[in-house]
């Protein structure tokens, strides 16, 4: 299972034709969905080879999403921490305020190409829901967003945004009423509406080919960042840092750097109240391999294989699983995965706001918290590049409550 990273020529060749990243990934879905997934796989292969598809994507990424977004030298935070130079990849400056739109543009164009007339999606923090509702409005397709009832309470601004954009937001009251249950409900919808519906999965998880295609659509983050850091510094960074829930912004940043062996890579999971308390979302740190939502990956579960509820102040990280490629990168040791508690993320959220004038999403506040720990121990000529995956406006109510402030 584990082999030394040095023995592999490239970390960028997977998945295999069956959708496996080592032992992870695969296609663990109900038979009703299999023909759809095979159809999607073929459609994606064709689209990838089609220059017209690439051209259309580039057009919308440039003029609609407003890419490339900058790689920003966070001097305030760097000076404050007194160690490494910190760069932010500004995904928060995308249209809709997070990295999720990159993937949604790709998938909606794929859906159009396949002749699908209805879109469904799951959402946790609401960022993927907003991005999906946005592209559906732009391309004139009706969409239904499944969102855990618990998340609807804590992310009400995003719920309103989705409704403004014309989406139907369906509250999910089953199970733990959060992201995993929203995904169950979206799968139930899909299995019922097989002929016309395209499921836009928001992260690098789910059955093959989703982990691959979402990764490919998000790789624009890392590709741009690589070019930009070479422009700014004339060299690659010493370390990449990104938060991982399902892991799409992290995979998008990491993947183009996987074969640059001098670049250390760190993924940051949500430790919630602390990994030792059992109330967390750190599936790589504290879970084990199992099968859920179409893929084998690290999951939080009990000894009977029952899935546990995740817990994080950040709705976007509140998921008991992780994309299968992350599981593989952990096992082979190419990426180091650590975890950050709610409390640490909150401090990072306020520190970044104060030192940079940037209110970060709670998700990427976890990545900032990790940098707060490590950057001071690094030299001033070292470079840390972090994915600032989204803006924090959606989180101000949650943060106010956590800080005991009444709005």
């Amino acid at each position: 299972m584990t082999s030394a990273p040095n023995s592999i020529n490239s970390f960028r060749t997977l998945p295999d034709p069956e959708g496996h990243f080592g032992q992870f990934g695969g296609r663990f879905v109900a038979e009703t969905l299999m023909p759809l997934i095979l159809e999607l796989e073929q459609a994606y292969k064709d689209a990838r080879e089609d220059p017209a598809f690439r051209k259309e994507m580039d057009y919308f990424l440039k003029y609609y999403v407003s890419r490339p977004n900058p790689l920003y030298y966070a001097q305030g935070l760097s000076d404050h921490l007194g160690g490494a130079k910190i760069y932010f990849k500004r995904e928060d400056l995308n249209h809709t305020g997070a990295h999720k739109i990159n993937n949604c543009i790709g998938q909606i164009l794929l859906a159009k190409r396949m002749g699908k007339t209805r879109i469904i999606a799951e959402t946790g923090a609401g960022q993927h829901g907003v991005a999906t509702a946005t592209v559906c409005a732009r391309f004139g397709l009706p969409c239904t967003i499944y969102m855990g009832a618990k998340d609807i309470e804590r992310q009400s601004p995003n719920v309103f945004r989705m409704r403004l954009l014309g989406a139907e937001v369906k509250p999910v009251t089953s199970g733990s009423r959060s992201l995993k249950d929203a995904m169950n409900e979206a799968l139930r919808d899909w299995v019922t509406n097989v002929s016309d519906t395209f499921y836009i999965i928001g992260t690098v998880a789910g059955p093959h080919p989703y982990p691959e295609l979402v990764r490919d659509f998000q790789c624009v983050i890392g590709n741009e960042a690589k070019e930009q850091i070479l422009d700014a510094e004339g060299r690659l960074p010493d370390e990449l840092v990104a938060a991982v829930g399902g892991g799409s912004n992290a995979m998008g940043l990491f993947h183009p750097f996987l074969d640059d062996k001098d670049v250390a890579i760190t993924g940051v999971e949500a430790a919630g109240h602390g990994v030792h308390t059992g109330h967390h979302a750190a599936s790589l740190t504290a879970g084990r391999p199992g099968v859920l939502h179409g893929n084998r990956t690290y999951l939080l579960m009990d000894d009977d294989g029952q899935i546990k509820e995740a817990d994080s102040i950040s709705a976007g990280l509140d998921y008991p699983g992780i994309g299968p490629e992350h599981s593989w990168l952990k096992d082979i040791g190419r990426v180091n995965y650590v975890s950050i508690t709610d409390k640490e993320a909150l401090s990072a959220f306020t520190l970044c706001s104060e030192k940079e004038g940037i209110i970060p999403a709670l998700e990427c506040a976890h990545a900032i918290a990790q940098i707060i720990k490590t950057a001071p121990k690094m030299n001033k000529d070292q470079i840390v590049l972090m994915c600032l995956s989204g803006r924090g406006d959606k989180d101000i109510f949650t943060v106010a409550e956590a800080l005991g402030v009444k709005l």
């Binding site: 009703t32 023909p35 249950d181 299995v191 294989g305």
Partner: protein, 282 residues
Amino acid sequence: MSDAIIGGKDRIAKRFEKLRAENRAGLVTFITAGDPDPETSFEILKSLPAAGADVIELGMPFTDPMADGPAIQEASNRALAAGMHMRKTLSLVRGFRDHDHETPIILMGYYNPIYIYGVNEFLEDARNAGVDGLIVVDLPPEEDSELCIPTVEKGLSFIRLTTPTSDDKRLPKLVQNTSGFVYYVSVAGVTGAGSATNDQIIEAMARLRRHTDLPIAVGFGIKTPSQAAEVAREADAAVVGSAIVSKIAESLDENGKATDNTALVVSGLVRELADGVRNARK
């Protein structure tokens, strides 16, 4: 051990032979193991053959049953809340086999609890408990090496779900490595949702018969004795699940606990369904 001799594929094959000899379709009943609690569930399980169940599907509770509708989701939740887990599910079957050596039992559910139990250990324990076959919703033929092949090698049946999306191109792959019977999911959807029309079922049966000689059981959306009878005229068996577990739900007291009625209402419904199925071809 006598169970091993008459168990596995044989018990299912013998049951369908008997049905053919009686020139009637069978009734396959689904309940979730441990619903609403392990003791009541055992009472219900034992009562099924006398009420007219020809084959029993026993659901393995799972937290995330993504192909099931609300009725079976809630059954799973009730069972888990009552402390059900895989080892207890297997002991229910073992207990059942003390009373009944002939009615096939198929375990139905999702892969993760089996994967975590350990595939080989699970198959060994399931066979020894008197399980005859498995239906695992999230294991399509693309993942056959996970569980399907080991199951068949152990002498148990791996029963495949075929669906309205299974066309002539897909079906050969689906019936490969499968045994016991083929389960036709008559609507694209979750359990307990709408039902297929008779014409749709007739068409699907004809398509399936081109690809397999195995008996065909039809399920999803069958709620009443007359619907069961209609299916029984075309198929080798009719499967009823959500309607039965809904009866269990209705029988519970205000705290969600079993009442004296719980086992009775289930056998009452199964008796009516069995009457429908048995009289369908007369």
